[in-house]
Symmetry: C2
Subunit: 413 residues, 2 copies
């Protein structure tokens, strides 16, 4: 008990300090003061190596700044709010490829011209997250309107008709569901319903649907989480069906833990800890070099992705959140030990004590393979989100464990 207290206290200090360092990196290097929005292609020391703007990363950085502004006193600074609003305006003006159509680009030029479009829902999801947090922070109804309109469009694409995404359905393409789809949607349900009972009720049924769909990805009699399954919840043939992504399973795990908490469902919580936390960790942790593999094959065959054995920053950030949340919700000391194991590896291997922020891509052996701090898929998101969520959880855990305040001194007689 004493020991747990010490562990929590020590991590709270490390996590707080690291969050400050990480945010200092993005505040110094990523703002485009001319066009608004954020640069994400930043080298080890923060130098810009490309000025393209990735819509996922624009939305995520807006969300991150607003979240910190809203949740952590020391980040309630005009600098963050102004940058978030400039990022939001950049998205409002340029994210849509052909307004009033809702489809968003994947990447824009610095000034906002569309360069590439993906035939998925993710740009739109991060757009929605950004707009909703901007609404929560500023109270400007225009942002909420944007978030709700885009959400309706996303739900339409997912549940009714994906035609607007531009994918052509071919005779041989299996109707498959990547876990990312219900997972992102569940995250949006949580986001939009936070501090708004009306919207929470409005999206409750959708949340149940998402949770059900994610849980279907537990396959093979509960022995494996598979990234892609058939529309009716079965394993697909070939590499596509056997594909596993341990970091993704862990991220889905903490989304589901939040859902189980909202539902007040301890049986679901136990199932999620077992299947989405412990199972992917056991099969996904590299026994030789430490760290989580990026991809695996459920039959233990060699994946075809060249980067399968690399260690990426984001699965480790997600694992930290998942294990600390599992511990917060259940009090199981095993989960605190796993949090510490993952966090020690992560701080040791990914942090850059010299220039701030984390490296994103290590070799299997843990050597830095790419020195960039940001790029097409890494921006101001997973690292500070992990650190902020951990700080918030550690604060609550320590508050709950604090000795009761001393009795008031006896009144003067």
């Amino acid at each position: 008990m004493e020991k747990a207290q010490e562990t929590l206290q020590a991590w709270k200090g490390r996590v707080e300090q690291e969050l400050d360092r990480v945010m200092a990196f993005w505040l110094e290097h990523s703002h485009d003061h001319e066009h608004g929005g954020f640069f994400s292609c930043l080298g080890r020391g923060g130098q810009l190596y490309d000025d393209l703007k990735y819509v996922w990363l624009q939305g995520r950085q807006v969300w991150m700044y607003c979240h910190l502004y809203r949740k952590l006193e020391r980040f309630r600074r005009p600098e963050l709010l102004e940058a978030a609003k400039a990022g939001g305006e950049f998205l409002l003006r340029f994210a849509r490829v052909a307004p009033p159509g809702q489809k968003c680009a994947f990447v824009l030029t610095r000034a906002g011209s569309p360069v590439k479009v993906q035939r998925t829902i993710f740009s739109e999801c991060f757009y929605t997250m950004a707009m909703d947090e901007l609404w929560k922070v500023t109270g400007d109804a225009r942002y909420q309107g944007e978030a709700l309109d885009m959400m309706a469009q996303i739900v339409h694409w997912v549940q009714e008709d994906p035609a607007g995404l531009g994918r052509s359905q071919l005779a041989g393409t299996p109707a498959s569901e990547p876990m990312a789809i219900p997972m992102m949607l569940l995250g949006l349900v949580e986001q939009l319903g936070e501090e708004d009972e009306g919207l929470a009720r409005h999206y409750a049924e959708l949340g149940d649907w998402c949770a059900h769909r994610i849980l279907q990805h537990v396959q093979r009699d509960g022995q494996a989480v598979l990234e892609n399954i058939s529309e009716d919840g079965r394993e697909l043939p070939g590499c596509l069906g056997r594909h596993q992504n341990p970091g993704h399973a862990l991220e889905a795990g903490w989304f589901l833990l939040r859902y189980a908490l909202r539902k007040g469902d301890p049986a679901l919580r136990a199932h999620v800890i077992d299947k989405f936390l412990l199972l992917p960790f056991r099969s996904g942790w590299d026994p030789e070099h430490g760290g989580l593999f990026y991809f695996q094959d459920a039959d233990g065959l060699c994946p075809t992705q060249l980067e399968w054995s690399m260690k990426l920053w984001w699965p480790h950030s997600e694992a930290m959140v998942a294990f600390l949340m599992g511990y917060s919700d259940s009090g199981d000391p095993v989960l605190l030990r796993l949090f510490s194991q993952v966090a020690e590896y992560t701080f040791r291997q990914f942090r850059d004590p010299e220039h701030g922020e984390w490296f994103g891509y290590l070799s299997r052996e843990g050597k830095v393979a790419l020195t960039i701090k940001g790029g097409p898929f890494k921006g101001c998101f997973h690292v500070p989100r992990c650190l902020a969520l951990c700080e918030e959880m550690l604060t609550i855990l320590l508050r709950a464990r604090a000795p009761p305040p001393p009795p008031p001194p006896p009144a003067p007689q």
Copy 2:
């Protein structure tokens, strides 16, 4: 001189033997006797781990079988011809997504239903190569008709109107030319014109255009070959513009050497050896661990591709062909030394003495990162093409160097 002779003789032996071993692997494991065509998703020992059929690899394997059948006496076996014809028929029946439209799929199910389409010309290029080699081997005019029709379609997409490829042009997308486009086309010009003077004349102007376009990728006052340049031959901004692929430059190098030989242009030959062989080798060879990097950034920055520092089989196969061809054409002993250096590394690191064929994907340090022998991008092509071309070149080199036959014995008097 003596030394060169020995080197050539030794490599001829190794290359011949290796070609036999490599072809034995594909002949044993890759044939689909039920549907025709070839499996390429084969594990280390040849076991099938996915039955998808990749159109690039179908076309390439048909080409390879026909080429061996046509060029090397010991491969003139009915088994190869029958498998090539079955692969050709599979392509004829299933490669096109929506016949009579010419667009081909990228990947098909085992039975031939389209799974994915790429918005590029490469499936169609390998289809054309396959059909033309089938025509050369069988004399069946149907195959040649297919090859010429598809070639006309490809030229139309490249030179006149790419609309049929399905790419949407966005306001911010730079009009860029990947070197692969004129390179593939130059390869097809060579293929279709081989042993056919009429067709060689028909495509001569196109060949000149391709060579001119490839040569434009030498940028920065001749100090770098860049993969992507603008339509008007200038460097593009950002990562896209700085992207380099040493193996690709070397492959373009031997395509251009053949072109220079056809043209009888020794000045061009010297330029190609300098810019497409020596330059990419000098900047692309890893001084620490040996082997060619997969991708580089022309400013020496960190590439954003996770696999940039991995060592792949095909750049090494292409480098072997390029240096041996450079030596054959110029007689420069430096090029023979470089051939030996690359070939020694390649045979040592990529060969699998236990199960045959080569590993495809090594870590920067040269450790096997993926144990598969075939997959979505690796099939029966780069390795046997390299070995067959080297064998052919070594045979000619040794024949030219052989001492003159002894004078005939004096006639009986």
